[in-house]
C-alpha cells in the first residue's frame, strides 16, 4: 500500500515476539512464537481492526506496541520516531501520544482512587498544571465521555461496567493522544451497553481525529467500526484489506472460515450461509506447523503448503498470506 508516510501515526515493522518456555536442564530451549513478522501502518484518524482467536497474538501485539512487552525483533514507529529501544524515561513522553483502553474495566481502574484522580493522573504525570486547572480538565473530560462531572468524587465500585469503560476512555483522552489501542473494549460489557461505548469512540474519533487500533474477536462489530481489517492466525497477519472489500469477499481460507463461523443474529441469513466448520484446534504456538501455519486445519491444503511458508503478498486490493489465494477457482466449494 502506498499511503503517504506523513499520514502514518503508528507503524509496526516486522514485529517478532518470542517468549521462552520453561525447559529441563538437558532439553533444548523452546519458545512461544507469539508474534512472527507482523507489519502494518495505522493512518491518522483511521480505525484498523485486528481480529483473530485466542492465541493468535493480538494482545501480545498491543503490549509490544505500547512497549509493555519488549519485542524480540522488528520495530515500532510512533509519529516518525522509532520507539523500539527507547528507555523508560523517553517512553513516558511518547506514551502521551499513544494510550490504551483494556477489556476489563473492573481490573483496569484502581479501586481506591476516586474517578477524578484516575482521570487526572495522566495530566499530573505529563503536564505541570495547577490542581484547579487539572480539576477543570477532568470535569471537561468526564463530560466528553458522557459522564456527569460530579462522578469525579466517586469510586469505581459505585459505577456500572459501561460507566467504568467511559472512565477508562476519559483517562486515555486526558493527554490528547494520536493513537488509542482498544483491546476488546466492549467484550466485558452487556450487549445493550456496547453500542453506547462504540458510538462514543466513533464520536471522539470524528471530533479529535484519533486513530484506533481496535483489537477484537467480534466480527460483526469490527465490520461496523473499522476502515481496514487485519486477520491474524498464530502470530501472523494472514489477510489485510479495506473493510468494504472484506465484506465483499475474503481470500484467505482462514478468514473465510472465521467469518463464516461467527453466528449472525438473523435466522434467514444463517440458513442461507454455508458455514465452514474447521476440524481440530489452533496448534500450539510453541511448535507452529512448518510451511503455512493454517495448513493443519485448512480444508484446501496442498503438498506445497507444508513445504513452503507463504509470504504476505498483494492480491488485488489486499494482502494475503496463502500460496493459492486469488487463483481462479480457489478455493473450490466444499462438498
Amino acid at each position: 500500500m502506498s499511503e503517504g508516510r506523513a499520514d502514518v501515526v503508528l507503524e509496526a515493522v516486522d514485529l517478532v515476539k518470542h517468549f521462552p518456555v520453561k525447559h529441563g536442564l538437558f532439553q533444548p530451549a523452546r519458545h512461544v512464537h507469539a508474534l512472527d513478522g507482523v507489519s502494518f501502518a495505522l493512518k491518522r484518524g483511521e480505525t484498523l481492526a485486528i481480529v483473530g482467536e485466542s492465541g493468535c497474538g493480538k494482545t501480545t501485539l498491543a503490549k509490544c506496541l505500547m512497549r509493555l512487552d519488549e519485542p524480540t525483533g522488528g520495530r515500532v514507529v510512533l509519529l516518525g520516531d522509532d520507539i523500539t529501544h527507547l528507555g523508560q524515561g523517553a517512553l513516558r513522553g511518547l506514551r502521551r501520544r499513544m494510550q490504551i483502553v483494556f477489556q476489563d474495566p473492573y481490573a483496569s481502574l484502581n479501586p481506591r482512587w476516586s474517578i477524578g484522580s484516575i482521570v487526572g493522573d495522566p495530566i499530573r504525570l505529563h503536564e505541570k498544571v495547577p490542581a484547579a486547572e487539572r480539576r477543570r480538565r477532568v470535569a471537561e473530560l468526564l463530560e466528553t465521555v458522557g459522564l456527569d462531572p460530579g462522578y469525579a468524587d466517586r469510586h469505581p465500585h459505585e459505577l456500572s461496567g459501561g460507566q467504568r469503560q467511559r472512565v477508562a476512555i476519559a483517562r486515555a483522552l486526558a493527554v490528547n493522544p494520536s493513537v488509542i489501542i482498544c483491546d476488546e473494549p466492549v467484550s466485558a460489557l452487556d450487549v445493550s451497553i456496547q453500542a453506547q461505548v462504540i458510538n462514543l469512540l466513533k464520536r471522539l474519533q470524528a471530533k479529535l481525529g484519533i486513530a484506533y487500533l481496535f483489537i477484537s474477536h467480534n466480527l460483526a462489530l469490527v465490520e461496523h467500526i473499522s476502515d481496514r481489517i487485519a486477520v491474524m492466525y498464530l502470530g501472523q497477519v494472514v489477510e489485510l484489506a479495506d473493510t468494504r472489500s472484506m465484506r465483499r469477499e475474503l481470500l484467505h481460507p482462514y478468514s473465510k472460515a472465521l467469518f463464516s463461523a461467527a453466528p449472525v443474529a438473523d435466522p434467514d441469513a444463517s440458513a442461507r450461509r454455508t458455514r465452514i466448520i474447521l476440524s481440530g484446534d489452533v496448534p500450539s504456538p510453541v511448535d507452529p506447523p512448518s510451511g503455512c501455519r493454517f495448513r493443519t486445519r485448512c480444508p484446501w491444503k496442498q503438498p506445497r503448503c507444508a513445504a513452503e511458508s507463504p509470504a504476505l503478498r498483494a492480491v488485488g486490493d489486499r494482502l494475503v498470506r496463502c500460496h493459492f489465494a486469488g487463483e481462479p477457482g480457489f478455493p473450490a466449494p466444499l462438498a
Binding site: 482467536e53 485466542s54 456500572s160 461496567g161 459501561g162 460507566q163 452487556d190 450487549v191 445493550s192 451497553i193 456496547q194 453500542a195 453506547q196 462504540i198 458510538n199 466513533k202 474477536h217 466480527l219 460483526a220 462489530l221 465490520e223 461496523h224 472460515a257 472465521l258 463461523a261 461467527a262 453466528p263 449472525v264 443474529a265 438473523d266 435466522p267 444463517s270 458455514r275 466448520i277 474447521l278 476440524s279 481440530g280 484446534d281 489452533v282
Partner: protein, 325 residues
C-alpha cells in the same frame, strides 16, 4: 408437541445483607420433546438462576425457590426427595456450563469422570465403563479417544473440555439438556464445532435443549423458540422467526439492533440508554421503563402483565399490548 418440561410461576429469591432480591419472578415456560428453547437475557436477567433452579442447584441459604412448580415428565422436581433428585440430575436431565475447566475435576482422569456418571446412573461395571467412555468420546468428536480417556482436564484444550462435558452429559441419554452459555468461553471456530455437535446429537437422540445465552447469534442458529428475560421476568416469547422478524417488546427490539450492529443514524448505532437496574433499586412499574423510548406514564406505575398480543406471543409491555407496532 408434548412437554418434557413445564415451569409454572417460578420465583427465586436471595436474601442478602442489603435486602431480598427477586432474581426470578413469576417465570413460566415449557419445553417440548426434542425442542430447543433459548432463554435469552443480559447479566442480572435471572436466566442462569432459573436454569440452576430447575435442578434445585440454588444454594440455600442465601437463595430459595420461593414459589412455583417445575414439572419434568409429569413429576414436580420441587417435590422430589434427595435420592430421587439425584436420579434425575445427570440422568434424565443433564447440564453443561460455560466454563468446562471449572466443571471438571482437575485431579481425576477423563475416564474416571465420565465413567462416574455411568456407574451412578447405569450401574455399569469397570470394564464396560471404560469401553463406553471411549465410545462417548468418539461420539463427541474427541480425536484419539483411547488416549484422551487416560488424560487429565489440563491436558485438553477448551473446545476438547467442552466436548468431554457434553460426553458426560450424554452418558445417560438425557431427555433434556440444559446448556448454560455452552460456547461463550470458546473461540468462534470452535464454537461452530460445538454448536454443530449439540445439534447433531440432539437430532440423533431426540433430546430437548434449554439453551441459556446472551448471544442472539447463537440463538438464531440453534433455537426453535425464544424467551426473552429482563430483570428476573419474562418480557416476551415467540418462535425464533417471530422474535427476530417481528419483535414486540421495546427491549427485544433494542437487543436485536445491538446484536446486529445496525447503523441507524449515519454511521451511528442505536443505543439503549442507561444500564440494567440494580436488583436492590428496581424502578417502579416496568423494570425497563427508565431505558425505554416509548414508555408512557402507566409504565412507571404498574408492572405490565404478560398478555398474548398474538397466538403464542405473550409480551409484557403496555405499549405493545395496545396496538400493532
Amino acid at each position: 408437541m408434548s412437554a418434557v418440561l413445564e415451569v409454572e410461576e417460578l420465583a427465586v429469591r436471595f436474601r442478602t445483607t442489603r435486602g431480598t432480591v427477586n432474581a426470578v419472578d413469576g417465570l413460566s415456560f415449557r419445553v417440548g420433546e426434542g425442542e430447543t428453547v433459548a432463554l435469552v437475557g443480559e447479566s442480572g436477567s435471572g436466566k442462569s438462576t432459573a436454569a440452576l433452579a430447575l435442578l434445585r442447584l440454588i444454594a440455600d441459604p442465601p437463595g430459595r425457590i420461593a414459589a412455583g412448580r417445575i414439572l419434568f415428565e409429569g413429576r414436580d422436581i420441587l417435590g422430589l426427595r434427595e435420592d430421587e433428585l439425584r436420579e434425575v440430575r445427570g440422568g434424565r436431565i443433564a447440564m453443561i456450563f460455560q466454563d468446562p475447566m471449572m466443571a471438571l475435576n482437575p485431579v481425576y482422569t477423563i475416564e474416571r469422570q465420565v465413567g462416574e456418571v455411568l456407574a451412578l446412573h447405569a450401574g455399569m461395571g469397570r470394564e464396560a465403563r471404560a469401553k463406553e467412555v471411549v465410545e462417548l468420546l468418539r461420539l463427541v468428536g474427541v480425536p484419539a479417544p483411547e488416549e484422551r480417556a487416560k488424560q487429565y482436564p489440563h491436558n485438553l484444550s477448551g473446545g476438547m473440555r467442552q466436548r468431554v462435558m457434553i460426553a458426560m452429559a450424554l452418558a445417560c441419554k438425557p431427555k433434556l439438556l440444559i446448556a448454560d452459555e455452552p460456547t461463550t468461553a470458546l473461540d468462534v471456530t470452535v464454537q461452530a464445532q460445538v454448536l454443530d455437535l449439540i445439534q447433531s446429537l440432539k437430532d440423533r437422540f431426540g433430546m430437548a435443549v434449554l439453551l441459556i445465552t446472551h448471544d442472539l447469534g447463537v440463538v438464531a442458529e440453534t433455537a426453535h423458540r425464544v424467551i426473552v428475560m429482563y430483570a428476573g421476568r419474562k418480557v416476551e416469547e415467540g418462535t425464533t422467526a417471530q422474535i427476530f422478524k417481528d419483535p414486540r417488546h421495546p427491549y427485544t427490539k433494542g437487543l436485536l439492533e445491538a446484536a446486529k450492529w445496525e447503523e441507524v443514524d449515519g454511521a451511528m448505532l442505536r443505543e439503549i440508554p442507561g444500564a440494567v437496574p440494580s436488583p436492590f433499586d428496581m424502578p417502579r412499574g416496568c423494570a425497563f421503563s427508565p431505558r425505554c423510548g416509548v414508555a408512557v406514564p402507566r409504565c412507571r406505575e404498574s408492572v405490565p402483565p404478560l398478555v398474548e398480543v398474538a397466538p403464542g406471543r405473550p409480551v409484557a409491555c403496555f405499549v405493545a399490548q395496545e396496538g400493532p407496532s
